[in-house]
């Protein structure tokens, strides 16, 4: 039997454990709770979650300028989801610490006045909630069974503790928004995977880079040669720099690429960059004024380069 869109979504949510609440239940969340399990955990009615997601999507679509929407997550589990959501819907993402005063202090550099605020957890993101209340900003939040609902205008009952759950919810919300806008239809289904929204542990990310790193190990050694030959001729590469570029990869390739999530992420993201992340930087700098202005930046990277991988290793091993 073919499942409807809603049923398929509900299946996905159940698989991501969106329905599992916590051992406590806030009285305002009682309406979304279905039952209390024998071990004390409250089960959320996922059908209602879906309805609230639809409502939230309608509100998001009603904002004419998507740049006026701010999606926020202080917790690491939600940061990647929030960034991807912003990328696909055109909103602005704030991942990590919310500087107090961003919505209220007009003298701050990061001052912004959003039309709508979307949060992953009212408890950890309480500061933006407080400021939104001062600035007449409606708030949408994913609320667990024990989340405080103060100043939350649209609460989406869900599990906001698990990484799969948060990723799944943001993916669903993004898809709903795109469907309502008409960007995604039954004829052209959304081809982005849920996994893109899941939080990746640094070890997991490191393993992924190790796989990709094995492929690229050969590339940097080849790329080392060209800068040397170009050095006197090419105006962009000054003498000192290629030598330094060359020494690093030659010395520390296996260790570096294996243990440098920073460099690896460079490989993952921009498609045209085939070699290691070291080469990703220079092409973007030269178009600017000259190598003089860019040289300090490059040397900064070099100084950071050998240290960053070794710095990361003890943290993740």
């Amino acid at each position: 039997m073919a499942l409807s869109q809603k049923e398929r979504d509900v299946q996905m949510m159940l698989a991501a454990a969106v329905h599992l609440g916590t051992k406590n239940c806030d009285f305002q969340m009682e309406r979304y709770v279905w039952k209390r399990r024998s071990d004390g955990i409250f089960i959320i009615n996922v059908g209602k979650t879906w309805e609230k997601l639809q409502l939230a999507a309608r509100v998001i679509v009603a904002i004419e300028n998507p740049q006026d929407i701010i999606v926020q997550s202080a917790r690491p589990y939600g940061q990647r989801a929030v960034l991807k959501f912003a990328q696909y819907t055109g909103a602005q993402a704030i991942a990590g610490r919310h500087t107090p005063g961003t919505f209220t202090n007009q003298l701050q550099n990061s001052f912004c006045e959003p039309r709508l605020l979307i949060l992953t957890d009212p408890r950890t993101d309480h500061q933006p909630i407080r400021e939104a209340a001062l600035g007449n900003i409606p708030t949408i939040a994913f609320c667990d069974t024990d989340s405080p609902m103060r100043h939350v205008d649209i609460a989406i009952p869900a599990n906001n503790k698990g990484k799969h759950s948060i990723g799944c919810l943001f993916w669903l919300l993004a898809r709903m928004v795109l469907q309502m806008r008409g960007t995604v239809t039954a004829a052209q289904p959304w081809d982005v995977m849920v996994d893109l929204f899941f939080y990746r542990e640094p070890e997991e990310a490191k393993e992924r880079e190790e796989e990709e790193g094995a492929v690229q190990e050969f590339a940097p050694t080849e790329y080392v040669a060209p800068p040397l030959t170009f050095a006197p001729a090419d105006a962009q590469w000054e003498g000192a720099v290629p030598g330094q570029w060359e020494s690093e990869p030659a010395v520390a390739i296996p260790g570096d690429l294996a243990g440098a999530p920073v460099a690896a992420e460079w490989t993952a993201a921009p498609a045209p960059m085939q070699a290691g992340g070291w080469d990703a930087i220079p092409p973007s700098i030269p178009p600017a004024a000259g190598w003089d202005s860019a040289a300090p930046i490059a040397s900064g990277w070099e100084a950071a380069g050998p240290q960053a991988p070794t710095g990361w290793d003890p943290a993740h091993l």
């Binding site: 300028n65 960034l83 007009q106 992420e265």
Partner: protein
């Protein structure tokens, strides 16, 4: 000499200077206006509301009040009420903090601002110099401008002249009660609230106060609170259902979407930084 400020117990001496400061209460009207002309022309709005006001999209202050939008820039108020807005320094109060080397005196200025026709604002600012305190007080007063609702005592002839109903405001121990009065009664109040009520544009009112009205700060804040409540009171003529309008931020999103020079750069840098992190 040793009595002046060196000892810890020198409180009485400190107040001697304070009484001298009170002399300026009635005399300082309006403050120095001359050399400040240039600042007001170069207003670069920082908030969305400021930008809309500067472009002339907002018709009146009342529109801002309707949507409870926080006013962060005093130039917004000046734009609408500018010439009619008068200010008055109610009191310069010296306040002191005890330090190892004597007392640290700062001056607290209470400034009331108003257009004598339905708008009042109250600003309190403390600063090391009197002039700075007054200036800051004026700005804060403009930011806090409130609409005052006026009504009739009896027959609805002519313009509203008194409070629409009995209202009371409290600050600290001071409670101020405003009672509607018939035309021609004038403002029956003490010197301090009388000033505030004159700025509000209320012509006739009976008042009654309680508490330590000597504390001018609380007295003035209590009358301000009271006037705040005039528009908070539900009277039968407000029973009709509200017709909701679009908030100016929604109506003018395209105007606001046009970036100012600074914000464009910041956005680009921000997105690059974020993408780099992942």
């Amino acid at each position: 000499m040793a009595e002046r400020g060196g000892e810890r117990g020198g409180f009485g001496r400190g107040f001697g200077r304070g009484r001298g400061g009170d002399r300026g209460r009635g005399d300082r009207r309006g403050g120095r206006r001359g050399p400040r002309r240039e600042e007001e022309e170069k207003w670069v709005p920082v908030t969305k509301l400021g930008r809309l006001v500067k472009d002339g999209k907002i018709r009146s202050l009342e529109q801002i009040y309707l949507f409870s939008l926080p006013i962060k820039e005093h130039q917004i108020v000046e734009f609408f009420l500018g010439p009619a807005l008068k200010d008055e320094v109610m009191k310069i109060m010296p306040v002191q903090k005890q330090t190892r080397a004597g007392q640290r005196t700062r001056f607290k200025a209470f400034v009331v601002v108003g257009d004598n026709n339905g708008h009042v604002g109250l600003g309190v600012k403390c600063s090391k110099e009197v002039a700075t305190a007054i200036r800051g007080g004026i700005i804060l007063a403009k930011l806090s401008v409130i609409p005052v609702r006026r009504g009739y005592w009896g027959n609805k002839i002519g313009k509203p002249h008194t409070v629409p109903c009995k209202v009371t405001g409290k600050c600290g121990s001071v409670t101020v009660r405003l009672v509607p009065a018939p035309r021609g009664s004038g403002i029956v109040a003490a010197r301090v609230p009388k000033k505030v009520l004159q700025f509000a544009g209320i012509e006739d009112v009976f008042t009654s106060s309680r508490g330590s009205t000597k504390t001018l700060g609380n007295f003035v804040k209590a009358t301000f609170e009271c006037l705040l409540k005039t528009y908070g009171f539900l009277t039968p003529d407000l029973w009709r259902e509200t017709r909701f309008l679009k908030s100016p931020f929604q109506e003018f999103t395209d105007v606001l979407a046009k970036p100012t020079k600074i914000s464009v750069l910041e956005d680009v840098e921000k997105t690059q930084f974020i993408e780099n992190a992942f």
